[in-house]
Amino acid sequence: MIETAGTSVEVRLPSRLGFEKVAMGTAASVAALMGFPSERIEDLKTAVAEACINAIEHGNQLNEQLSVGVILSATTDELEVKVIDNGSGIAKQPPRPDIDRKIHGEEDARGMGMFLMQALVDEAEWVRDSKGKGSYVRLVIRLDKESD
């Protein structure tokens, strides 16, 4: 195993839909280096993709002058991924998606990204911009934990 504890990798992506896949590829490589099993890497990839899509779409509002930052920090037992945008963040958590309401047209078919992030990783926390440093979501997966 390659020693990864204490290291951090940074990625900067353009605010264009599709580039979330680049963050997925980078996150998957870091998680593989740390020895995460493939199911956990799939969970992380989907969570990172959803975080980047929200940063591109809602945070940076598809403004290509702005970029999305992804910082991957490894400790001995966990990988933290911060996905940073230039928006003002989210005021409150959306309600948990309800498939029956969606199917019956009582709620928007969309609105599952944040739910999936929370469901797929061990920690998901949204932090609103303070002092113009950007808003971010912080995702954590732990090496000892099994896939949900």
């Binding site: 839909l17 599709g18 979330e20 896949k21 199911e39 799939e42 969970d43 989907t46 993709a49 959803e50 899509i53 998606p97 309800d98 498939i99 029956d100 969606k102 199917i103 019956h104 047209g105 928007d108 078919a109 969309r110 609105g111 599952m112 990204g113 739910f115 999936l116 469901a119 797929l120 896939s147 949900d148």
Partner: protein, 116 residues
């Protein structure tokens, strides 16, 4: 890696000889897939519908929302829908968001066809 979505429409039948329309997706299912997903639904004949995800590499929550919109249409007209070819990860994701309640998720085409 193919990023655009392609949909081909096939026809098959259940073991009990009921005719079934199969929508075979390939590429990504994302916010760009409105036409290949919802447009394809318009071309589906009556009877049960099978969704083939075998050649899909990437599905995100906007793509899942399109699948849900397709299931809304199916629900309105009382059509049965089943899916196969999802990776274990996406079977889990589809179950998490509740899709499994409106479309059976099966490991392969024969198993899915036998479910109708």
């Amino acid at each position: 890696m193919q990023t655009e979505t392609r949909t081909t429409i096939d026809h098959t039948s259940t073991p009990g000889d009921q005719s079934v329309t199969v929508l075979r997706f390939s590429g990504d299912i994302s916010s760009n897939s409105r036409e290949p997903v919802l447009g394809a639904w318009q071309n589906v004949s009556s009877g049960p519908v099978l969704l083939d995800f075998t050649k899909v590499d990437y599905i995100n929550s906007s793509g899942i929302a399109l699948i849900i919109q397709m299931l809304m249409e199916a629900d309105k007209t009382g059509r049965k829908v089943a899916a196969f070819g999802l990776t274990p990860h996406f079977q889990k994701v589809f179950t998490m968001v509740g899709i499994a309640k409106y479309a059976g998720l099966y490991k392969d085409e024969p198993t899915a066809l036998a479910s109708f």
